[in-house]
């Protein structure tokens, strides 16, 4: 079994509202899986079903090859989007309590907490109350509580919201390291640049339906249009543009470079070859810039959502 988590045709209704319609996803072991979608698409509902907070109306969830059971809460670490801590409880006590709820023994929890407190440099917070901490500090505690019990599957819902850039990159590094140590990560966000940076697999949910999923590189391959961004140095741009337009589909392009070049996006037809294009261009002008246009996660997101 290579998938840490599989959801099979999961559906959920709230009254007359369909929150999830027949959604299936597969999260490969050791991957960072991006669960994407606009607000209200059903991401949080799916995450809550995986956490057994909400029960699905139909379909089932399989964790590490077995049907999801109440005991599995030990195997999952969940950082919800709506997150907080008991304001008037002390940091240490609170973290211990939450760890014990996840089934850890008190001694084990204490030792692990000590490790994490040192790692994130928050050693002297043990006796502080949450209300005395800043928002970013409180979120560090939430992050620790989420990962403390070494879960096989980590679920982060908008993990970076509220973090300053330093803490956000700290948390990002921790997520990557946890993956190195064997955890699988599901990660729901709107921030496409972090998807680009972290995720190897994605699924896109829109209006309760899954409309796209797979390996990010595969998806990009399907979405790429065999278009090349070029920068050419020429005396007569208008004439050159005309000449190229006769042979290829040409669109204006904009990118930054040092020279005052002619900038074009050139789309090849189905069987077109980048080498042929390059040698054609070198024969016409000096080529300063030649890059294949790869759709960003953001482009794919907007395009698919609009088309649906």
């Amino acid at each position: 079994m290579n998938n840490m988590l599989e959801a099979h045709s999961v559906s959920k209704n709230f009254g007359n509202f369909k929150a999830l319609n027949n959604v299936s996803i597969s999260v490969p072991k050791g991957s960072i899986f991006g669960l994407l979608g606009p607000n209200g698409a059903g991401k949080t509902t799916l995450i809550r079903i995986i956490n057994q907070i909400t029960m699905p109306d139909a379909g089932k969830v399989i964790l590490d090859g077995l049907d999801l059971k109440p005991e599995n809460i030990r195997d999952i670490g969940y950082l919800p989007e709506e997150r907080g801590l008991y304001k008037s409880m002390k940091v240490g006590e609170q973290a211990l309590y939450l760890a014990q709820l996840k089934g850890m023994s008190k001694a084990d929890a204490k030792a692990r907490l000590k490790y994490w407190f040192e790692k994130l440099e928050i050693g002297d917070w043990w006796h502080k109350k949450i209300q005395e901490l800043s928002k970013g500090q409180a979120q560090k505690i939430q992050f620790i509580v989420t990962v403390l019990h070494r879960p096989k599957l980590l679920i982060f819902d908008e993990p970076f919201s509220g973090f300053d850039p330093i803490n956000a990159s700290l948390i990002k590094d921790e997520i990557l390291q946890l993956r190195e140590e064997g955890s699988t990560v599901i990660f729901s966000t709107h921030r496409m640049e972090s998807v680009e940076e972290l995720c190897d697999h994605i699924a896109l949910i829109h209006k309760s339906n899954k409309i796209l999923d797979g390996k990010l590189t595969d998806i990009k391959r399907t979405y790429k249009t065999n278009t090349f961004e070029v920068g050419l140095q020429t005396e007569n741009s208008a004439q050159l543009t005309q000449e190229i337009s006769d042979k290829f589909e040409v669109l204006p392009a904009s990118f930054k470079n040092l020279n005052d070049d002619l900038k074009l996006n050139i789309k090849l037809n189905g069987n077109g070859n980048s080498n042929d294009l390059l040698s054609y261009l070198t024969s016409k002008a000096e080529v300063h810039h030649f890059v294949e246009v790869i759709p960003t996660a953001n482009d794919i997101f907007i395009q698919t959502v609009k088309n649906n």
Binding site: G15, L98, L101
Partner: protein, 437 residues
């Protein structure tokens, strides 16, 4: 995984360590006792005030009956008219002037009795004077009509009815008073407990919602476990507080009475006065024994067992509803619309208990309300000292358990959905929809 003990422990410790909880626990009995001390002190002040009353008796028949007491002295005025007497008494700042005007009619002894004072006289003074005059004039009338007063005195009897049920159980008036006291205390205790600690549960649910920790918690425990843990933990904190109140109450009371020399037996509740009035009609010694007998006559075992079960049942019933309300709203101000339906049956129960059970503990109204689950804990607890057949108690308890199972289920449903709902002020219609999620 059973996290219930862990949740109970947290809820209990958070409540007990809370500063306002500690302050309330220590301060409440102190304030109460201080208040009682003030009342006791004031009533002592009143009793020790000396009064001087002058009497102008034109009939010449009653002035001899006023004997000086510790707090009141009387003096008789003679050879003066009422206007001069009034000026005289006023100039000496005496309490008042009692004026008895002789009647011209030979069949009547007096025409008018007036008591002149600076301000309105106290009721007890007037009552005392009236009693004395009535007795004296009645005696004189009786003698005039040729009745031998001694014979009347010797003919008087005092009747005290012995009460006995068909099964041979004897009861007395004292029994009834004691039963009322027991039932009243038990019912009232439950009522207070529900209101104070139900609210506490509700607030603690709201706190979890507003601090947004709720989703983190319920990804580890089932909502119903969290809810039950909250209810039980808060109740234990409540019991702790109650026990401390009782202990502190006794301590403060003895400290105050020693330090300020206040006799708390002067502060009387209506029940105590009833007991005392009953006692005065007979010999004190045997009456005290009667109280002890009456106490042992109470169905003590039944009372204790029933108290425990009905208390727990009633408390769970209401506190689960409080928890559901807490889950349904975002902040405390939104709770108002849901509080009324909870408080209504509770207040109704206390009213039925106070007005109907005292009058007729086994009447239709009392019996019916002691079966309806929302009023039964209070009403049944008040009825039980008067002897309620076991089958009725069991039936009522069965209904109570059935209903509280339902309300806990209902509350858990609302709770489960409500704790994840933000920003909406829910209507009853909305709540009904949640039940079907």
């Amino acid at each position: 995984m059973n996290h219930l003990p862990l949740i109970i422990q947290r809820e209990y410790l958070t409540k007990v360590r809370n500063k306002s909880f500690i302050i309330m626990t220590v301060l409440s009995p102190l304030i109460l006792i201080a208040l009682m001390s003030v009342v006791a002190y004031l009533s002592q002040l009143n009793n020790t005030k000396e009064r001087h009353i002058s009497i102008l008796d034109e009939t010449g028949k009653v002035s001899s009956i006023f004997e000086n007491t510790e707090n009141t002295t009387y003096s008789t005025l003679a050879e003066t008219d009422v206007e001069t007497a009034k000026i005289l008494v006023k100039s000496k700042s005496e309490y008042g002037l009692l004026y008895i005007k002789a009647s011209q009619d030979t069949t009547k002894l007096y025409e008018d009795v007036v008591f002149f004072t600076e301000d309105s006289p106290s009721l007890s003074v007037i009552g005392d004077l009236e009693d004395k005059l009535e007795k004296q004039f009645t005696d004189i009338q009786l003698v005039q009509n040729g009745v031998d007063i001694d014979k009347i005195e010797t003919s008087k009897v005092s009747v005290s009815i012995n009460q006995e049920t068909y099964s041979g159980e004897t009861t007395s008036k004292i029994d009834n008073i004691l039963k009322l006291a027991f039932g009243g205390i038990a019912g009232y205790l439950l009522f207070m407990f529900i209101i104070i600690y139900g609210n506490m549960i509700m607030r603690s649910v709201i706190e979890e919602k507003t601090s947004r920790i709720i989703e983190i918690i319920i990804s580890s425990v089932k909502p119903i476990q969290l809810m039950m843990g909250k209810i039980i933990g808060t109740s234990l904190a409540g019991i702790t507080q109650f026990v401390i109140w009782v202990v502190l109450g006794f301590v403060f009371m003895s400290v105050f009475s020693v330090v300020f020399d206040i006799d708390f037996s002067n502060v009387k509740t209506p029940q105590q006065e009833m007991v005392e009035q009953t006692m005065q009609s007979g010999e004190l010694q045997s009456q005290m024994q009667d109280v002890m007998v009456a106490f042992y006559n109470l169905p003590i075992t039944n009372l204790i067992v029933a108290f425990i079960f009905f208390f727990i049942g009633g408390y769970l019933l209401y506190s689960s509803l409080y928890a559901a309300i807490g889950a349904a709203v975002d902040n405390e101000t939104d709770t108002q619309q849901f509080m009324l339906p909870i408080l209504m049956p509770l207040i109704l129960a206390v009213y039925v208990g106070v007005f109907t059970v005292i009058e007729d503990p086994h009447g239709t109204v009392s019996t019916v309300f002691s079966f309806i689950p929302f009023t039964s804990p209070v009403v049944m607890l008040m009825r039980i000292p008067f002897g309620v057949p076991i089958w009725q108690q069991l039936l009522s308890l069965g209904l109570l358990i059935g209903t509280f199972t339902f309300t806990v289920w209902f509350a858990a449903k609302i709770y489960r959905v409500g704790i994840l709902m933000y920003g909406k002020k829910p209507s009853y219609k909305e709540l009904y929809k949640w039940l079907r999620y």
